[in-house]
Symmetry: D2
Subunit: 383 residues, 4 copies
């Protein structure tokens, strides 16, 4: 079996989920090329070596340019903090590598545009890891919408609620908490969490034309994990926005890290003329479905346990038997299976960098609106 | 508007629910005769007088025979401890009164037979208050079964779980805890709680032919609330039985007052060839429905909020607007509305004493099986 | 027992819920004066006579001024369309009657101010029927907040979702659908549904200082039920707003009548430093509670079945036994019990007209913001 | 890193789950020896070769004796139909291999005893794959019980409900449906499904002393998948039993393949003096917990999302981040991690063959009771 050699840049939480996906994919999906974990790259030599050993990488390094320079690397996977995405991705594209980049694409639309240009100019396959698209229940929701089962859509609502930064002694910066440091992350919940919600929404419901947002930073100063100094907090702890979609439907989005009781509660609900859909990440193997076409007296929200076989529910016939659920990590396996399968067949598979740029534009419009207190237009497409 | 004069015997919890039903029924249902709360009867003169005042009874008394002797009383409602049902019901029937008796019918099949004979000989309308039949979701389940929507039924499962007698210092006997006193109650959870489950099951799924049971009394002695003496506990704290129905389906029933966390969790689940149904008393306004005829990929349990109008869901167009739930007490209003409506139209409405005797037979077979450790046949019908 | 004579203006859905409350209150709560249903008033003589008969009113009339002119009427209850509230309430106050007015207070802040002046000048007890405050789980939530169990509050989220106006052939205007007619209702979901959410929020979480809103009318023209003519739709079908509270917390509110699958899904969630609370109207007898003070490994959302006794959970020891739920209508019984009890004791009980005016101000600010696309300040208090 | 060479006998559903576990374990758990997939064995040469390729086995064979004869195989994993367990396990033990055998241990207590003798005589590490013990929520429940958090236990209830054999045209026998063939499976739901429930129950709640059971075979004849002939069905389609535990608590167990709407609904509920626990396989990452020690007014069932870190909730700090769930397959990873970790440390880890024999004894008593209609004692321990 032909191999596909992977160079992994970054070895944090996402480095693990991606590595796991490359290792599992050929046990469950038929690909022509078997991913091989060739090299892992990170800033701390000892740590990245331990990571490489744990996950079976053949070698490790601290120099990402060295990874990109290697002829035997087919795919570069970027799992580093957001502000480093651009330089690595552009270099990888210029070296002719396939590029799989963690979300969000970049920390600004300007950077994102450069990245899109680079991959398009190089003509390399590219993907941004908005993995929640590949949770079977979420993919299934997309199928039902595309089939027209909801009819005209009136409302799209999404939340991403967490509670891990409520304590004032959580630091910012450094390997564990760079997501609280504006310099590394670009923004707070908007880029980290709402980007997921926006990606899913654009995919399921089409373009967003205008946004109106409010953000808040509840704790104004935090110690920096590396310098030990108290610094202003530059990120948004919470962000709420409403918006209008191109199809006439209304959107309402909210994310916060101050919602006590929610670890990672990504939820969406879509209300259409004929049917409605709900999903949440805490029970990700279920899809809630309300069908107005049911006999009136028997109408009710159905809790669909998305574990069926026979191709009826996406992805599930690759796993176990009906009734037995999969978890979070499998969404990355699906992403890799689909992406590599598309590459083998010469198909484009998304979200490409270009698609992810649309999400970046919405994020930037949201932050601009929060700053100005005004409605902000989202310039989509080539603009 | 013509009146229907009610004499209420007993003024405990059930005296309140029945009184409330008579007071509310004509605001929500069309009856030809308006119930009038004529007299309340109880053992303690002061207490029954206070009860009568609270609920608007015209008078009160401590002598139930006096109530039955009155010419102006049309209906005698019996809400006293189980061991007193027979004497009062027989006397009321002999006096030509309609009789509405709280469940269970009696403390033995022998007593129950006497009661059936009395009402049938007198030809008076009679009803036993198995009110859970009249929760809209439960009535709706019965309709769906009768329409054949479940097809062949394989399994009937019911539980009634409580936790109020776990502490050893709960007494037995007396007005508040007569349900723990075998002399007054006849049995424990079997007559008090499983009788409800059995009534619903016989109504929905037909006759039970054989039972096999286990009972337990976890706390062997309790103080008597009136005498202050420690006495053996004669009732069953917990009872489990499985059984066979006449239609070939299997039953599994359990009740206990030792299930920590459940106040009054009456649940049933019915599994048929084409569909399944679940219900529970803690959220009594919902019916869970699984329909195998749904498209395979969209199958799931539906949570039906039974509050619709237009006659589609039983009883609900008499109340508020869709989406607004009713509670426990309304089941008694429905019972009175249906019973008095049937009387006005000369129809029989159940569970009559004769039907309730079938439940009594199952209860007695269950207790006999628990005592003998053997399967016991239920002799139904005229036997 | 002394009586309290009620004159009811209006006989629609709310006329029924209020009448039921007056009839039930003394069976469950101790009041010194027994409400007596003296007269019902409505525009259609035959219909109001039928209503009066159904609910036991002594008489009926089509002239509300006549009701107010009667010396024997103690309390005037206003259950007519919103645009008629002001004139009747002012007249009733001037006549020295206690006034109970359905929500929203008025169709404008200006009208609301006149109403407040009238009742304050007359010194008459006054209440606006925001009945959801009196659902036990909602009252219980308020108690927990006031005790400080949530600590600092970060987020307040509320939705009120319905789906009954999706079909284009639903008319506007007339007795059944006046809520879709801007002339009668003043606004759409903002005044009808969000007013409930705002009232509860102000009560639980204090003042709202600024709002930013978006509204939509999905169907632009509908037939008028009385004239038969197609007219523009002037109400908002959907309204979303975010806001800032005086205590620094962020609010997110949404209401629509285009959320397929939801009949009357009023929900709120409050996230505090130490605990979070959720509630929804479709299962109104439950309160969801997350307590961060629980041992870490055992933390989880608790589903509290609000049916306990002993004064621990508000109102419930007046009803049945633990585990047996009440429904929607009981919130009106509580409202009447509390209001009349406060009157007997000379206490003020809210929401008074003055408190309801604050809700009106938020509603008006929301509609102004939606029109202008700008943040709008809410001028609270005497302003 | 030292290796541990695995020989896999069988390549069906369980062959896949076990193979996945060996492949994943060292990415998530620290073991001294890395499992290596050395050889896969099955009856069909082409199929087993394809399986070996899919999962990365170095070779494949159709002769299980050859696997056992190899010196380089350290562990024999048995995933074949139940009636073949004994011969292979005994041979493997005699060859000095570690043995991991799928459940149930055997098709009879007599066979099970031989297997226990063989592994004990050989002194080889042995484990039966009752994987549900290793679902984090289930392991967590065991911890809470062992800590005494439930106090005296009154009730243990477990169900395992499926619906895949309702159609009469499902065949029996052969690779896909050997579970319906008494010759291969030994029994129906009792050995296949109730064995899981019984294993968990014995582990969590101690010995079962007496059982009383009812079984049913709804469809009496089915075509054999290999012969094409219609044959009597020898297995139990449904089995219900109640029992007494050594600690005085009562058990109620039920399994069926005729419960429409349930794919693999394994549930248990345990009611103790101080607390109760519920779990179900369809949402296996949650544990429901009711604690009577909570303040009375705030008592409610908690839904604990078992995804926390820091060792507080078993296994989870080996996976992702709090809030992100794992699935079914991970229970096998935990099982292998624990078993191999114990072997490395010289500890015994269960369920050993000896422990699994106790489950076999309960299964056999259940089937005997169903046949005789009598209570049957379970002879536990050395008997």
């Amino acid at each position: 079996m032909e191999t596909l050699n992977v160079g992994m840049i970054g070895y944090g939480f996402m480095g693990r989920t991606h590595s796991n996906a490359y290792r599992q994919v050929c046990n469950f999906f038929d690909l022509k090329r078997q991913p091989v974990l060739k090299v892992a790259c990170g800033r701390d030599a000892a740590n990245v070596a331990a990571f490489a050993k744990q996950w079976g990488y053949e070698s490790s390094t601290t120099d990402w340019r060295e990874v990109i320079a290697r002829d035997d690397i087919d795919l570069v996977d970027i799992c580093v903090p957001n502000n480093l995405h651009k330089e690595i991705a552009v270099a990888a594209a210029e070296a002719g590598k396939m590029v799989l980049c963690e979300k969000p694409l970049a920390t600004s639309v300007a950077d994102g545009r450069e990245m899109v240009s680079a991959v398009e100019k190089a003509g390399v396959p590219n993907l941004v890891s908005f993995n929640y698209r590949r949770v079977p229940a979420v993919t299934f929701a997309k199928m039902l919408i595309d089939e027209g089962k909801l009819g005209q859509i009136f409302h799209y609502r999404a939340n991403f609620l967490q509670d891990w930064t409520i304590a004032p002694d959580v630091p910012q910066g450094g390997p564990a908490t760079w997501r609280l440091d504006a310099a590394a992350a670009g923004s707070g919940v908007t880029g980290d969490l709402l980007a997921h919600c926006i990606d899913t929404a654009l995919w399921q419901n089409g373009s967003i034309t205008q946004v109106n947002a409010m953000t808040e930073t509840f704790i104004k100063e935090r110690v920096h994990a590396e310098t030990g100094q108290t610094q202003p907090v530059g990120i948004d702890d919470a962000c709420t926005f409403f918006c209008r979609f191109g199809n006439g439907s209304l959107g309402n989005f909210e994310s916060t890290r101050y919602a006590r009781g929610h670890k990672a509660l990504y939820t969406f609900e879509i209300n259409g003329e004929h049917a409605s859909i709900r999903w949440d990440l805490h029970d990700l193997h279920r899809l809630e479905w309300f069908d107005h076409n049911d006999a009136e007296r028997l109408r009710g929200w159905r809790s669909i346990h998305v574990t069926d076989h026979g191709g009826e529910q996406p992805y599930m016939d690759h796993w176990w038997v009906p009734g037995l659920q999969i978890g979070y990590a499998e969404s990355f396996v699906h992403q890799v299976a689909d992406f590599l399968g598309a590459v083998e067949e010469g198909r484009t598979y998304g979200p490409t960098f270009a698609e992810a740029l649309e999400t970046q534009k919405v994020c930037e419009a949201v932050l601009n609106s929060a700053a100005s207190g005004q409605w902000v237009d989202v310039t989509s497409g080539a603009g």
